[in-house]
């Protein structure tokens, strides 16, 4: 193993099969072993270099029929950004009525995507 080389054991989640992958990363070069299909190779590469996740949580709603509304990132964000975005979302409060896919945070932490609501909330008077 040369300097700067790293091997990661990753379970592929491109499909439910969950192949165990060995991913060797040497600077920008990535070698994936153990995948049963091409999607697995692609998955191993992304997961080793920049694992991405859809973040889902809830934020507070004032004056709504329910106290919280589910929210999500429109697309997956870098896993490392998750804690920061969660912390930012804890400070957010929406005012009812809330509509579906309303923007909650625009491009938080330069994640490259917005956080939007995943449900609507009616106003209660």
């Amino acid at each position: 193993m040369s300097a700067g080389e790293e091997t990661k054991e990753i379970i592929c989640t491109a499909c439910p099969r969950g192949c165990p992958l060995q991913v060797r990363v040497l600077r920008e070069a990535v070698q994936v072993e153990g995948a049963s299909c091409r999607r697995g190779v692609a998955f191993g590469r992304t997961e080793a270099l920049d694992p991405r996740r859809v973040l889902t949580t809830t934020v507070r709603v004032r004056g709504g029929a329910v106290p919280v509304v589910p929210v999500r990132t429109r697309s997956p964000i870098s896993r490392g950004l998750v804690p920061g975005v969660l912390a930012e979302l804890r400070r957010v409060e929406l005012l009812a009525p809330v509509s579906l896919h309303q923007i909650v945070l625009a491009d938080p932490a330069d994640a490259g995507t917005d956080v939007v609501t995943a449900a609507s909330v009616e106003e209660v008077s």
């Binding site: 099969r17 949580t57 809830t58 999500r72 449900a119």
Partner: protein, 418 residues
Amino acid sequence: MTPIQCDVAVIGGGPAGLAAAVAATEAGADTLLLERHVELGGVLPQCIHPGFGLKLFGEELTGPEYSQRWVSQAAGIRRLTDTMVVSVSPGFTVWATGPASGLLEVRSGSLVLAMGCRERTRGAIAIAGTRPAGVMTAGTAQRLVNVHGHMPGKRFVILGSGDIGMIMARRLTWEGAEVVGVYELLPHLAGLRRNYVQCLQDNDIPLHLGHTVTEIHGDRRLTGVTVCGVDQAMCPMPATAQLVPADTLLLSVGLIPENELTRALGAEMDAVTGGPVVDDRMQTTVPGLFAAGNVVQVHDLADDVSLAGAVAGREAAAYARDGTAGAAWARVTPGSGVRSVVPQRLRLPADPATEITLRVRRPVEQRCHLLLTVRGATVARRRLDYARPGEMVSLSLGAQAAQALREGGDLAVEVVEA
């Protein structure tokens, strides 16, 4: 009390019931949807994680979004929410009650049962120890956190590696709680590997396979649990016992189809799935009584629940219209290596497009074949790279099998290693 009349009554407004109501209405039936919660969607609104809709909508949705798609489709369909069905009679009469609806009597030509399932509880698995506050099922915790905004505790132990348990492990960690570990009795994961990776691995939550909770401690509020390794017969090994301090124990130890109404109507039950025996049109053994979704068998994906619901709704509409239940059926039986199979009956002449779904008995981590046999002869096969009890698999009946069944006999399903 004047009874409400309809062609098709659907009990349960979750993914199965919504799809059934939409399909029945599309087939021209006057449909009534009954749901116990104020909102439609069943368990979906509390499932705020992604993973829904890939199969049906080609994009990854959260539970509330997936629910919203169906609720929009069902816009215009007569429904009674905040209304609980308390009893049913053959023929069909449904009694339901709600604060706005009062006590209702509904008369319908056919009935779709879509009540879903409930979670196995502490009582059902008889854990020893005290009975303090702080012991609940993972799904109850999910509802408390995601819908009501309540934290059930601060330091959690999760028993069972079912999907809801793992998803809640991540959810609670993200909400600032500590999840000490997930303990699984079986030597393998109960839920999906994706959830293991994204919920447990990502958040450094340890998974302990081959472990169980043997005792609950705490007089008023939970103070901890004793966890113990188990041997091959799944018996706890006292020498491995260890006290784990925690204020909450979440249980993710399985789901049980909710079938009290089904049994009351006299439908034949399948002891393995815990649901009614259904045919390829989701009709139970009671003519005009249909069932779909987790009431029939516990599914892995909401998309599959919706697909089954649509079949039930369409066929319930057909029954309400022409009253034809069918005249002859072939049985479908689980053979070697197969734990359960749905449908358990095929209406004759069999439809070659029928999908047979099944769960294998134990994990097969190598290439294997699903075989359909009639009178000992293989009439269809599908190759699989692996098969696991936690993942439902399916294969099409096909023309050859349909033809073979015309000549009599039952259909057996087996799994053989290649």
